[in-house]
């Protein structure tokens, strides 16, 4: 499964914080395994059309929180994050429930039925 990161410049949350939050989520869920190399600051900044400083700040905060570790010229790697499987499951459940809640509220506000809403989820799921 490809790991996609999404940022929205219009949100009140700073972009670097959005990156940090999503990386932490992926590491906690185990989708970003320990030892995985992250893209370079330059590459991610280019792909997301952001200033290098924004991505550098996100990486720096992740490094301070020991979620990732920088290995000089070799790049930035996911740290060995020791979480119990039960903790991982709980964090995944919480994150998913939060996202589902926001989605369900928006769908109801738009007056969309469950089937149509799920169909949208399926389509987005297959997009990446």
């Amino acid at each position: 499964m490809s790991l996609v990161i999404k940022v929205d410049a219009d949100l009140a949350v700073p972009v670097y914080d959005q990156i940090r939050e999503q990386v932490v989520r992926m590491v906690m869920a185990g989708t970003l395994a320990p030892g995985t190399r992250l893209p370079t600051i330059r590459q991610l900044a280019k792909d997301l059309q952001l200033a290098k400083g924004t991505v550098a700040k996100a990486y720096s905060e992740l490094e301070s929180a020991r979620v990732v570790e920088s290995n000089g010229h070799r790049g930035t790697f996911v740290s060995a994050f020791a979480l119990e499987p039960a903790q991982v499951d709980a964090s995944v459940d919480t994150a998913l429930a939060d996202a589902a809640e926001s989605f369900a509220i928006t769908a109801r506000q738009l007056g969309v039925g469950l089937d149509q809403a799920i169909d949208q989820v399926r389509r987005r799921w297959e997009q990446f």
């Binding site: 790991l3 219009d10 790049g75």
Partner: protein, 326 residues
Amino acid sequence: MSGPRRSRLFDSLVRLRWILPFVALTPFFVLVAAGDMSDGSAESAETGWVPILLAVWFFILVVLAVTVLMLNLSGHDPDAEDAAAELVADPLGRMLLARWLQRSRHHRFVGGLVGFILGVGLIRNGNSVPALIGLMAGIALGGALAEIHLVRGDQTSTRLAELRVRRVAEYVPLVDRLALAAVAVGAAAVVVLAQIIGQSGPTSTWVAAALVVVATVLGMQRLVVQRRRPALNPALAQADDLLRSLAASQGFARPGIALSMILLAQAVVNLGTASATSNGVEQSTVAPVVQLALWLAGAFWYWMSRRERSRSLAVSFATQRQSTSA
């Protein structure tokens, strides 16, 4: 693909553009031979039509040459769509690949033509090396220029990207990387040899030119691999991977490798001549043999089986993608 609809006749002409001149040249040579045989013979009066036919056929050849040139310069390349269809199944990916093939081939053709004309202008004392260098430099430069374009940014506030490292080694075949390293090592060896023999000057210039080409190729490969890419669906990502790989190898790197080998060959032959002149001895056969070997290696890099290679690359990226999405 966007753009004006072309007639089938136009497409057929474009497809036949390289065969037509050869077909047309055969009767021309037959007529030349017939004209030679008729000279001074008793039947020359009866074969007086040969020069007229020859003139007419020469005119047809000129028209054909101009047509072939214009067809190539038009940038329309129906082969590109066929080649893309063989490599990529996804319609959007196929369109992207066809557009890249068309752009890259067109730029390489125009670059090669301009380089060749400039090279011919530099020919002195019947030495055709400038024409060859001009041709190869033009093709390599054209291929590189085809990769330099502005990718229009996403205007929306929401952006998506894949959290995956794109390394040059994943996109550039090992043989190409080895060839570039071999040219760099060869250049260093020539410099050391020149220092030992006590010759530099033109040899250093040729070596420096070869190294500049190697450095440019490496820089361009990095640029192509690191080029912006938003998050894409698996089929499109696979097409994009293939496109980057083709661009970083066949697009400009292989003509660049061929060019650097030709430049290195010139450095070697220059060193051999300078050494023989300064020592007052006859030139040994080593330098011309090395030169020939480098020329052949350069020709091999340029003409290396390309479509087969593209196919195997396409299969490799498809397998890679399947294993990632599993």
